[in-house]
Amino acid sequence: MNRTKVDEEEYWHSSKFKAFTFDDDDDELSQLKESKRAVNSLRDIVDDDDDDLERVSWSGEPVGSISWSIKETASSGGPTLEGREPLKTRNSLSSYPPLPKPVSSYSLSSFFKGRSRIGSLQSLSDALSDVPPKNYAPELRRPKGEYKDYSSDWSLSDTVRRLQKGKVCSLERFRSLQEKLQLLEEAVSVHDGNVITAVLIFLKRTLSKEILFRELEVRQVALRHLIHFLKETGDQKMLLDLFRYLDRTEELALSQYQEHLSIQDPEKRKEFLKSCIGLPFSVEDAAHVQDHYTLLERQIIIEVNDRHLESAGQTEIFRKHPRKASILNMPLVTTLFYSCFYHYTEPEGTFSSPINLKKTFKIPDKQYVLTALAARAKLRAWQDVDALFTTKNWLGYTRKRAPIGFHRVVEILHKNNAPVQVLQEYIRLVEDVDTKLNLATKFKCHDVVIETYRDLKDRQQLLAYRCKVDKASAEEEKIDSILSSTQIRWKN
């Protein structure tokens, strides 16, 4: 942590991590491309039939796999497995007698009985015949549903143990509070969340809320299970009561706030968010929730207005660039982008103007510039981009400044296909020479590269670069004229 700058530089310049770089696409990728070419050139010999290969190694969703089959069912909109038609008619005949009889001759219960008495059924023994006769899966022979044992004299720990094994076991006989709590503690002591929940379900039904909450407050493990259970079953009312009782105000506020996610209608969602503002959030979160409400309120206004503008077809920007989606429920930055795209020149007084958004939500300069740049560059409005970085000082001189660093500006411009003239103007503004050279080379801004080498008095690099530009081009000419200049004292 306390390393000096020199150490750090050594670190990055030491060859430790140079073994491989993802940026270096030239070497690695060309190696790959070569192998790809080699492999592809073999296609003509091998492409005759792949089908047995499919079977050999591609078991991903071959015909007959279950996922495949379900997709088929879904796409054909109906059942696909063969033999269903005759079955359907058979079934429809047999399913309408007044007293429906099971299709099979075995009823479920007779099947169970049959199994336990006789030991096996033909079809089953067939299916199970390749299982080694070991006792590692004893439950295979006795499905749990069979244990319908309501005997009430199990001890406390036996009861919990039976519950743990998934057996049905009545808890009704534990009526005193002490017994109930002992039961709960026993469940907690065996670490089984399923059993803890089972006991909690019983306690929830047989104890008043106040008593249940009071007892759980000092039993954290069980309490966590109840909270999760209430969340999963969607018992929001009891969950909120519980948080209130425990005085967990933040969690109370957050779970109430969470409800907004299930409200689809924007107006209703907005009203709901408004009601959330007074909830006992932390100071910081309260501000976020307030912003959330304001944002949606704003989006609703913008949406109504813009939908109208778009359908009227009078506004050029909407005609040229129809909206792809509604702005409702989008994040703030997306909203800002949208407003920089469609409402850039609007005066600050309108709700949809970027400046208004910036002020209302205290968007930092950096974020604002980044977003505005992306939006204006997308529209290829280079003048706006220029204005974004031009500042005047008190003497009236203009200069360029970017709160995000000009190398980032260049990257964003390049992503939006800015022409070389625009790009090189900003590459020139990059302060670090290495970064400048890198960017200029990467984006083929020859002039900048050439001028930078000239300024560095680096004849060797300039000579090397000469080979990279087109023959007899303006760039080559420029290099030649610099190289032949007698004004420059070359360093090499």
Binding site: S35, L53, I70, P79, L81, S92, H191
Partner: protein
């Protein structure tokens, strides 16, 4: 290149038996509902089911039509409906809805719900509440161990992570214990058992209870697997949060490996269709590159391509008989290799393109700086910029978590400003995500001066457990301090490389992160195995928040075959990453061990982050 196994490496047990067992049990359960039936399968169970059965097996047992359990209404004409689902409340509501609709229409059908891997009482409660208890029969399909590869068993329970580490729900502990019980029944008892973490301890205790109930039956069996190591995911969040750079991990991060297979899109297959490919030891090309650092993969693939070319070229100048031989014996193998090769080359190309585009190099640099703990300011502003530019929300969140854990929480000022910017960039509703992250300890705010924690410690020692429970209520979470810096120092996780780290010849497990960091989880396992316990690691254990255990006298060592003592089962509670698997495979080769991995699910940084998100994207 490609790691060959040591000649003396012990044989792995045959886990295919687990698949057979699961299949047979499913068949048995289907037979419990004799006659034609429609089967409704939960989406999450489809891929695991595909690994052990297929449609024709289901058809043999009179499954007529297959449906996916989803929100859309389904019109089934069958007289019997069978539901194969995870024990979830919403599935019960789905079933209830269907049954109650039938009832309203005066229709009588037979319904069966098969819960996998087990039934929960909360589900039965819903059935009861919805008035269909008794109309529906319930069963359990204890399919909890899916062998994804020769050395990898997955429980396919990604929800384990959120359920336990966020919600504090212990419902899967018994499931894991049952799975261990099954393994020890099938493959003999484990001679030595180690672990660390609150959940690991509970699993261990539950499992021992199960073993003791049947002690008589397995006594005297020789162990096949000598060691078992249980580890909670929250012991080491750092490793899981890092970008992966070994091939298999990178494929997972880029394309998402799902249940052992991956969907390669048209950009990889260089055709117009996608291809679903199984990735395991059976794929000979993949098997040789899966554990390699990505930078080595190109070289390997081009070498392989050249060899292949040479083998094809041999057919020139063959006479008819030789040619016949060639075609009948070699061509098929060559063709298969050819197809595999072009697929992995395509995957590499696609990965390169994506990574270059997202400026991966910068990202890795920042991660390494965070791991080493210098240039914190610079890393923070890198993350800030990530957020401002609306680069993927998951990625931004992951970097923030990495910063938080390596620094023992964010400075309050940074926490506030990063959170604000995050909410502005990705949506205010992520307020909930932040709350979740704080509760798990993945993203926290530094407490000024640590005083609060000290007081908390002191008081909790003075009072009984129950009262302490109440006291820590203010911190009503499972979160704990990460102490990463101290642990990293004690365990030497950051190699002090004076010389270049040659990724082609890895010298330690750090190679899985380009030589910059030895995965903490794997280092702990290495140290404990070496010492056969925690002796000498007291300080590390303290920094890891305790809950360690080691039981080494479960079986007299002379009863354990020497091969078994070199087989180690590592159990990851809350998920493990492919990088960790690769690192341990490497360690195994170095030390003569072989590792078997049992995980609640294969995970990576994106999955961890998504599990914390309240906002469905």
């Amino acid at each position: 290149m490609a790691f060959p196994h040591r000649p003396d490496a012990p044989e792995l047990p045959d886990f295919s038996m687990l698949k057979r067992l699961a299949r047979d049990q499913l068949i048995y359960l289907l037979e419990q509902l004799p006659g034609k039936k429609d089967l409704f399968i939960e989406a999450d169970l489809m891929s695991p089911l595909d690994r052990i059965a297929n449609v024709s097996i289901l058809k043999q047992h009179e499954v007529d039509k297959l449906y996916k359990v989803e929100s859309k209404p389904v019109f089934s004409t069958s007289e019997q409906l069978c539901f194969l689902v995870r024990p979830r409340i919403r599935n019960m509501r789905y079933v209830a809805n269907l049954v109650n609709t039938d009832k309203m229409a005066g229709r009588t059908r037979r319904y069966k719900v098969i819960f996998s891997p087990q039934k929960f009482y909360a589900c039965e409660m819903v059935l009861e509440e919805e008035g269909i208890y008794g109309d529906v029969s319930c069963d359990e399909w204890a399919f909890s161990l899916l062998p994804l590869d020769v050395d990898l068993l997955s429980m396919e329970l990604p929800e384990f992570f959120r359920d336990y580490f966020l919600e504090g729900n212990q419902r899967w502990i018994n499931t894991v214990a049952q799975a261990l019980h099954l393994l020890s029944n099938l493959y003999g008892p484990f001679a030595n058992c180690y672990g660390i973490g609150r959940c690991a301890k509970m699993v261990y205790e539950t499992w021992r209870e199960l073993e003791e109930e049947e002690e008589g039956e397995i006594k005297g069996r020789k162990p096949e697997i000598g060691h078992i190591f249980l580890l909670d995911r929250d012991v080491d969040f750092v490793t899981a949060l890092c970008s992966q750079v070994v091939y298999e991990g990178l494929v997972d991060d880029t394309f998402r490996i799902k249940c052992g297979s991956v969907d390669f899109g048209p950009d990889v297959t260089s055709s117009d269709k996608s291809l679903k490919v199984l990735l395991n030891a059976q794929d000979k090309v993949f098997n040789e590159i899966r554990n390699e650092h990505f930078s080595n993969v190109f070289g390997f693939l081009s070498q392989k391509a050249r060899n292949l070319q040479a083998q094809y070229d041999r057919r020139r100048g063959m006479d008819i008989k030789q040619m016949k031989n060639f075609v009948s014996q070699e061509l098929k193998g060559l063709k298969q290799e050819h197809q595999l090769l072009s697929l992995h080359i395509g995957a590499c190309e696609s990965i390169m393109k994506k990574k270059t585009k997202q400026d991966f190099q910068e990202l890795i640099k920042t991660e390494h700086a965070l791991l080493e703990g210098f240039n914190i300011r610079e890393s923070t502003s890198y993350i800030e910029e990530h957020i401002d530019r609306q680069v993927s929300p998951i990625e931004s969140l992951r970097l923030m978590c990495l910063l938080s854990i390596t620094e023992n929480g964010l400075v309050p000022k940074d926490y506030r400003s990063l959170k604000t910017q995050y909410l502005q960039s990705y949506g205010p509703e992520h307020l909930l995500t932040f709350s979740n992250l704080r509760r798990t300890g993945l993203l926290t705010e530094q407490v000024p001066g640590d005083t609060l924690t000290a007081v908390e410690n002191k008081v909790s020692k003075l009072v009984t457990d129950k009262a302490a429970g109440k006291l820590t209520d203010a911190f009503s979470s499972l979160a704990k301090r990460s102490n990463f810096r101290g642990i990293s120092k004690k365990l030497g996780l950051i190699p002090r490389g004076d010389s270049e780290y040659d990724l082609k010849v890895p010298r330690d497990m750090a190679y899985v992160f380009s030589g910059a960091y030895v995965p903490l989880s794997c280092r702990i396992i290495e140290q404990v195995l070496e010492r056969r316990g925690w002796l000498g690691l007291e300080e590390v254990v303290r920094l890891l928040n305790g809950n360690e255990f080691a039981v080494t006298d479960m079986i007299p060592e002379e009863n354990a075959p020497s091969d078994s003592l070199r087989l180690v089962l590592v159990v990851f509670l809350g998920g493990c990453t492919f990088s960790e698997i690769s690192a341990l495979r490497f360690l195994g080769r170095e030390r003569g061990y072989r590792f078997i991995f049992l995980t609640t699910a294969v995970t990576n940084s994106a999955r961890l982050m998504e599990a914390m998100s309240e906002v469905k994207t």
